[in-house]
């Protein structure tokens, strides 16, 4: 099997992540923050260690600014519904995943778009125009989940900081692949999943709150048990507990802790270099095939294409028949797919575990499919 769907979730997971999951279930499997007995405290210890590691990984040294969720989608919903009020003007891009697009619509925000395909200066100019029109926030992805396109999130953050505008960043496709420092990059709220570029397992994500972000600005999305202050009618005032109602996904948090260790040890730049090398090779080979259309021809961590005359889902099924896992369709990003001009596309998503041999085999198979 060749797994090229790492933009959906990374596979396989490093051995240390598997060990962390097994170890937690066997030795620490209490409910963190829900008791004082040894198993609850063992679980709490694991959770706190992960907060510290995740905080440090994204450039902050306060673990209380890491708020765990069930995934990046919940983190984005928490950030958007927590900070954006009905009729607020919000700047966003034309390539957003539904985990940004749908909450913004549901929150009743008035959205102003910038063109993510433009040059950096044009993007910043469009954002600046939006701010002049009264936008109070920018909510956008750091990297597309469809095309090998990285937005200038550092420059966007700097502009937002200069203009006093909130910056909520979707780090789903960037965390662990591109360097993100919440403080230096002027991100107010960074939303991340555990199970993609950080090599954890599904069921966990986080909001990373900048030290400069005023937490009184964010309302909780979920209300429920926090393990403390049970007599109080409201959620706790301070993060992380303010934004963490209910039992934490402790097993997934243990996995994230190991995943962060793995990424740090391997090196974010080494991971990115490996993924881009695989992508570059496939891109160069597909570009020689006139029966294949590649969209946005850059090296990146994802690559999107279609075989001319074959619906993308069918191409996906044919590849699966040869043991190659890809995702076909619209990738939960309908706005991005307006630019493919077709009914969806086939996406390849790479990880540090993909090999040149896998890329060669893929090229051989897709070449055969395209000519059959």
């Amino acid at each position: 099997m060749i797994y090229f769907d790492n933009a959906a979730t990374t596979y396989p997971k490093p051995g240390c992540v598997v060990d962390a999951v097994n170890g937690f279930i066997k030795h620490s499997g209490g409910n963190a923050g829900r008791g004082g007995h040894r198993l609850s405290m063992a679980a709490a210890e694991v959770v706190y260690e992960c907060r510290k590691k995740t905080a440090g990984f994204f450039g902050i040294n306060d673990p209380s600014r890491v708020c765990f969720t069930s995934g990046c989608t919940e983190a984005l919903n928490t950030a958007i519904f927590g900070c954006i009020r009905r009729k607020d003007k919000v700047i966003t891009s034309n390539i957003e995943h539904n985990s940004v697009r749908r909450p913004l619509i549901a929150a009743g925000a008035e959205t102003l778009f910038f063109d993510a395909f433009s040059e950096k200066d044009t993007i910043l100019s469009q954002i600046g125009d939006g701010i002049k029109k009264g936008a109070s926030a920018v909510v956008c992805t750091c990297a597309s989940n469809v095309f090998p396109l990285v937005l200038p999130y550092r420059e966007i953050g700097a502009l937002c900081r200069e203009k006093g505008v909130l910056f909520i960043a979707d780090g789903a496709q960037a965390a662990g692949i591109y360097d993100i420092d919440v403080i230096k990059d002027n991100v107010d709220v960074l939303c991340i999943p555990a199970h993609k570029g950080l090599y954890g397992i599904t069921g966990c994500g986080a909001l990373i709150l900048s030290p400069s972000f005023d937490v009184s600005r964010i309302r909780p999305l979920l209300y429920g048990g926090s393990g403390i202050n049970s007599f109080e009618a409201s959620m706790p005032e301070d993060p992380p507990e303010k934004l963490e109602a209910g039992t934490l996904p402790s097993v997934s948090i243990a996995a994230l802790s190991a995943g962060v260790d793995f990424v740090k040890k391997t090196g974010v730049s080494n991971i990115r270099k490996k993924e881009h090398e695989i992508c570059s090779y496939i891109l160069s080979m597909l570009s020689e095939n006139d029966k294949i259309t590649v969209y946005h021809k850059n090296a990146g961590s994802v690559l999107c294409f279609n075989v001319n005359g074959i619906p993308s889902e069918r191409t996906g099924r044919l590849l699966d028949g040869y043991g190659i896992c890809v995702r076909a369709g619209f990738h939960c990003a309908p706005d991005a797919h307006k630019y493919t001009g077709r009914d969806g596309a086939v996406r390849l998503g790479f990880s540090v575990f993909n090999t040149k041999e896998e890329a060669e085999r893929f090229v051989e198979i897709i070449d055969m499919i395209s000519r059959s």
């Binding site: 926090s226 403390i228 049970s230 992380p240 507990e241």
Partner: protein, 70 residues
């Protein structure tokens, strides 16, 4: 005997407090507080040796970690 502790606003802050005391070389233990030890329901606290209490208080204040002492 009545327990002596510093009450923190959350479990996370209890861990932050422990980290802060560790930096000052003060041994401490995170404990779960009874509902009747606080007025707000369940909470977590930090227990230290009575001899270290003053130093621990100063360390928590110096580290900017809010706490209460019942």
């Amino acid at each position: 005997m009545k327990r002596r502790f510093f009450a923190l606003s959350s479990l996370t802050y209890a861990y932050k407090a422990k980290d802060a005391l560790d930096l000052y070389g003060i041994k401490s233990k995170i404990i779960r507080l009874d509902g009747n030890e606080t007025k707000r329901g369940c909470r977590y606290g930090i227990e230290t040796d009575e001899r270290d209490r003053g130093a621990a208080r100063s360390a928590l204040i110096g580290s900017g970690i809010p706490f209460t002492e019942p």
